[in-house]
């Protein structure tokens, strides 16, 4: 199985962690493709000036940082390339040339049909159970709703978090006391599911399956500060720990929807 990583060219700690874990896994990593500019997703950042600023920012810092993805590839003997944007024809060309079977997209923004129509699987890890927890701030929303936080590895489809699911399970998050801690633990834990799910996919132990239609599909949006304060208070009081622990205990039993055993956070 030839696996590629599509990620912003200036590698974040999270992207480095995913790349490292893929390299160490049995499926390995074949190519790393760095995206020079990912358009902002927040409406407040969509004005022309802000878009221009976000575009020029990485160029100004080009003294090596934009080339981090390429440098990483060279360092580890991977095929590497820098492309202008995720949905650029050059990106499609590079991915096709590399003959990848699976492309893991980490922080590369919303992928459009120019990529999704290529004969390969685009994969994402999401720190929320699907279809109930699609969209933004799902970790916070789960705590707000007194629901456990799940990790989901899924195919990237045309809608937001609508693709077929490869693997899902509740996450072991230890005992987060702040939103910041919770988010970093949840995202790290969800992305740690990717190498294992790919390994099991390559061995034929896992298959993609459609998202369940008997549960509500909800797209969540950015949480307002007033509600975030409620989430912070719940975390500080330790109320979330009980919910998550109960979910982890039930996940030890045979999973209902093909979920595996819990992936611990590291």
């Amino acid at each position: 199985m030839r696996v590629g990583l599509l990620t912003p060219a200036r590698l974040s700690p999270g992207a480095l962690r995913v790349a490292d874990s893929l390299l160490k896994s049995s499926v390995g990593l074949t190519a790393i493709i760095g995206v020079r500019w990912v358009p902002p997703s927040r409406p407040s950042e969509r004005s022309f000036l802000r878009r221009l600023k976000s575009f020029l920012g990485p160029l100004r810092r080009a003294g090596g940082s934009v080339g981090e993805a390429r440098a990483y590839g060279v360092r580890h003997g991977l095929s590497s390339a820098i492309v202008p944007t995720s949905n650029h024809p050059r990106t499609a060309e590079v991915l096709t040339r590399e003959g990848l079977d699976v492309v893991v997209s980490y922080g590369a923004g919303i992928l459009r049909p120019i990529l999704l129509d290529l004969p390969m699987t685009f994969l994402n890890a999401h720190a929320g159970r699907l279809p109930e927890y699609g969209g933004m701030n799902v970790v916070e929303w789960a705590v707000f709703n007194d629901d456990p936080i799940w990790g989901t590895v899924h195919r990237i489809g045309r809608g937001i978090d609508t693709g077929d699911i490869l693997l899902e399970c509740p996450l072991d998050l230890e005992h987060p006391r702040t939103i910041e801690h919770l988010r970093s633990a949840a995202f790290a834990s969800a992305w740690d599911m990717v190498p294992e799910s790919l390994a099991r996919l390559s061995r034929g132990e896992l298959q993609f399956r459609k998202q369940r239609e008997d549960r509500p599909r909800i797209q969540w949006f950015r949480m307002h500060e007033r509600l975030r304060a409620i989430v912070e208070a719940k975390l500080a009081a330790g109320a979330f720990d009980t919910v998550q622990a109960r979910s982890l205990r039930s996940a030890v039993a045979p999973p209902a929807h093909g979920a595996l055993s819990t992936i611990p956070s590291t």
Binding site: P43, F144, D147, F221, L227, A239
Partner: protein, 419 residues
């Protein structure tokens, strides 16, 4: 062919004229100052006022709108023209807001002013039982929609005081509404445009309140006929045809009239315990929520594909929509409704004019943002401020219910889902 060309030419000229007027309005010193202030607050350069202060300023403006003349009716303020004459329709539902304010804060002044408004409404009822459309300085044409809004205020005044005069006036108004309804549930006579509009769900809702107060079955039946008719007209994506208060822009209704329709369906559904009506309201409210969250704002008009057709925002529609979302949250406890409403109220607080000492503007919500936009340009319609107050009071209640639930849990309650 020639007449079609002439009609097209007239429409084009009308569009050009409206656009020219908006450009001219945007250069008015008040418009420029308001825009600058609003932008500063939206960008975080100046903090918007806290919710309690925003509500207090808005209520004070509603008081001043009542004091601007000898009668106790609600008035609007126009930048070039000052206070308008009294507006019976708006007085009807503004008094509802003042009663709510009294309930929420214990304000005796709000209660007494609401009663004076109801007293004034009893004096301006037409012989038929109807109420006139428009302002009292306009010809007294009996109008269905306006009568229904007054009816709602009269019923509320009766419920608060058990005063027979209010009930009697309410009965006469409701009887007239039933009498002029067509057999299919539509109101086509005594309408603003002489045409049926789905906003008449906001006629059905007051009729249901009258039914609740009197037990008169014909009110419920008339309301239900109208609601079913509207629900059947709804598109699969939640959008409503025949929804705008104009003929030429009916294919791209204003959020003000869309929100009226949703409010009528929702409140009626809740009163009747009819989940089909609530679902119809929710379908439209969800589409608006999605647009608001993805685009970062709710524009003034949307076409049948929920594509925005103008760049300005109708602040009345924004406030009404925020209120509808909170009411949906209270009904089904899905927190994304409350979340969107909180963001919308932030935006409205940023648009509230508190940087001036001018009595006609301070604390009020303008018709549009920018204030020169296409809905009530350079004006502060009192219904915008009324719905802003409603939304803030609903928000406070919803947040208090969450705090209450959390307190219960921490006191040893059983815990449970917020959604």
């Amino acid at each position: 062919m020639s007449s079609a060309w002439q009609a097209e030419w007239r429409r084009g000229a009308g569009r050009l004229l409206r656009s020219g007027l908006r450009t001219a309005a945007s250069l008015h010193p008040t418009a420029l100052r308001h825009r600058l202030e609003t932008r500063k607050r939206l960008r975080g350069a100046r903090p918007p006022q806290a919710r309690a202060e925003a509500l207090s300023e808005a209520i004070q403006w509603l008081y001043r709108s009542l004091d601007a003349g000898p009668s106790s009716g609600s008035r609007c303020f126009r930048v070039s023209g000052g206070w308008s004459a009294c507006y019976p329709e708006v007085t009807g539902y503004n008094l509802y807001t003042l009663f709510d304010h009294h309930r929420a804060t214990g304000s005796r002044e709000s209660f007494e002013r609401a009663l004076r408004m109801a007293d004034w409404l009893v004096t301006v009822q037409l012989a038929s039982g109807a109420y006139q459309g428009g302002y009292v300085d306009q010809p007294p044409e009996p109008t269905v929609f306006n009568t229904a809004q007054v009816l709602q205020g009269l019923v509320r005044a009766y419920r608060e005081t058990l005063g027979g005069a209010y009930l009697s006036a309410a009965r006469r108004a409701a009887d007239w509404l039933v009498a002029v309804q067509d057999s299919d549930g539509a109101w086509r006579r005594f309408c603003y445009l002489g045409e049926f509009r789905v906003t008449d769900t906001r006629v059905a809702y007051p009729l249901l309140e009258a039914w609740k107060a009197t037990g008169e079955e014909s009110y419920r039946a008339a309301a239900y006929r109208s609601l079913r008719l509207v629900a059947k007209m709804q598109h699969a994506n939640g959008w409503f045809p025949q929804c705008d208060n104009s003929v030429e822009l009916v294919s791209q209704p204003n959020t003000h009239t869309i929100a009226y329709t949703v409010e009528g369906l929702l409140e009626s559904g809740l009163l009747l315990g009819d989940e089909d009506l609530v679902s119809a309201a929710r379908l439209c409210a969800d589409a608006m929520l999605r647009r608001f969250e993805i685009d970062g704002s709710l524009r003034g008009r949307y076409d049948e594909g929920w594509r925005p057709t103008v760049s300005w925002k109708c602040l009345t529609g924004c406030a009404q929509t925020a209120k509808n979302w909170i009411r949906l949250y209270e009904h089904n406890r899905l927190p994304y409704y409350l979340n969107a409403a909180l963001k919308m109220n932030d935006y409205l607080c940023a648009c509230q004019d508190v940087g001036t000492a001018a009595s006609g503007r301070r604390g009020a919500i303008p018709g549009s943002e920018p204030i020169s936009g296409g809905y009530q340009p350079l004006s502060f319609p009192s219904w915008a401020t009324k719905y802003f107050c409603d939304s803030l009071m609903e928000e406070a209640r919803a947040l208090a219910s969450i705090s209450g639930a959390a307190d219960e849990r921490s006191a040893g309650g059983t815990g449970g889902r917020a959604s």
